[in-house]
Symmetry: C2
Subunit: 344 residues, 2 copies
Amino acid sequence: MIIDALQYSNWSEKIFRQMNEGGVSAVHVTICYHEDFRETVEQISAWNRRFERFSDLIFQGFTADDVRRAESEGRTAIFYGFQNCSPIEDDIGLVEVCHRLGARFMQLSYNNQSLLATGCYEAEDPGITRMGRQVIKEMNRVGLVVDMSHSAQRSSLEAIEISERPIAITHANPAFWHAALRNKSDDLLKALAASGGMLGFSMYPHHLKEKSDCTLESFCEMAARTAELMGSGQIGLGSDLCQDQPDSVVQWMRNGTWTREMDYGEGSANQAGFPAQPEWFRDNRDFANIAAGLRAVGFNQAEADGIMGGNWLNFFERSFGSHQAGSQEQAEVVDLAKERSHSL
Amino acid sequence: MIIDALQYSNWSEKIFRQMNEGGVSAVHVTICYHEDFRETVEQISAWNRRFERFSDLIFQGFTADDVRRAESEGRTAIFYGFQNCSPIEDDIGLVEVCHRLGARFMQLSYNNQSLLATGCYEAEDPGITRMGRQVIKEMNRVGLVVDMSHSAQRSSLEAIEISERPIAITHANPAFWHAALRNKSDDLLKALAASGGMLGFSMYPHHLKEKSDCTLESFCEMAARTAELMGSGQIGLGSDLCQDQPDSVVQWMRNGTWTREMDYGEGSANQAGFPAQPEWFRDNRDFANIAAGLRAVGFNQAEADGIMGGNWLNFFERSFGSHQAGSQEQAEVVDLAKERSHSL
């Protein structure tokens, strides 16, 4: 089973077919970088049309069981996530509403300071805010996973501590391998693992050693060293694949509407656009390369299967239901998903 | 001339008449605590109806000249301000739009962390954020005054440093007199004065020594000691008068929609509502008490006149026009105000 815990591509039938060819059972797709609640609902609306039109290839995922169903039916379950907390605006009541609509991951911040936590590009990181503490509690209650991929270190450590349920870093790599601002320290990765959390390895060139020239072997050796640090059950993939996107999209990701100057984020004036993918991971058909690479650096088959998807499946199982009344809520959501599936 | 740099009352003809009786030429009114852009526009719409209905008593102020006009016509000029940056959401483009609509003050944060700066109730204060630096520059450009009344100390000091134009603390008192979280340190008040900024003294009981029992003499002696610290030209009034408001309003100010628990702010479970005003400042008819009190503690007439309104008038003059093309912009706005006045 293959699960990718982060993609933001320029969605098309071609890409959904590639997911199918690659045997990808679940993808966590980003539906928000800067959007407010209403704009996020527009993204959901657009996904509903895709689920209708390409029902032979994809459907909306709500639970871990949906991933198993996708695998057995040869389709891909699409799970929604936010790379920012902008969809809940300043309203804690929107946490439950977003979860009901299908959101399963929400980053507490994206590069900059948010109402909840600090982003990794700020000079200072004061940790989780007053509102952040309230919102984490509410996310725990409803089953919306705290994702700290773009957050700063102290905020991330505090999120792990405050959250009563394991959190995730869906797409980043260890800083010991490539010291990018977005990659994570040993201390943070150890705390994440100790709390039952998950790290998804990114294949986005700015997060890779040697960037676009990174070799598969180097990537898989990094995975092996991370397994020594975190355990092989707490790591998976979060490719950060941004396939077929024009460069205007990465400019919008970085600048949104918060500045009148140009911010190049992980890039630079000379390298302002999307970088080229490494040759061993161009699109969803290439996951087999990674599975083989993991075996080649010494992971056994069970460990490699875990990293390719099994570990995320376990995490989904524990994370997406309501805290107090887990089974009932989950059953309801499954019913809803079945209903949608039957009506197609 | 009397100028009050902060009121948020349950607006009515009665209150506008009291402004008139009290000889108040200008009031900076809060039109936003938690509102987003669209909700703020609703407040503006409601004020437009009031300007229409009570045109014999009030009109919208855009410039310092409008205060002089109000004085000569025996009316009150109403200037808009925000106690939070929520009206600009995450969009720096809304700074200029809000200024055009009449906003003249905007707090960078209200008690909690915002996208721009830290509020005085947060445990940590990392200073002005990445977006905050961009927004201060834009506020400087268009003539929207940075107000740090509810912000934390480091953020306030950094705002003074980053801003190329003087900033304001429209409603707060010195902490040396009453050590409330909302009151300000000597260091901050000195930095504010050194940069040409203004402090408006609050008559809100939680900011007063002995709260509702505070005496006029104690208040005026505090003003005298503050004048020694800041100079008598950099202080004025910002009463924070919340007349005729039900207690549900102060609960909303404190809790907005950011928490599911109860936050009592400056109050407590036993004292959850609005506190009673001191007997010497019940409403807009009582400013004469303060003018007399200031003379009684030794201010000369010119100094007392400055504190009652002249100092704010000077500040308005320097602050509300565009930075690059001040005079032209200001002239345009005056024309707009005259147009409105003629059409009534």
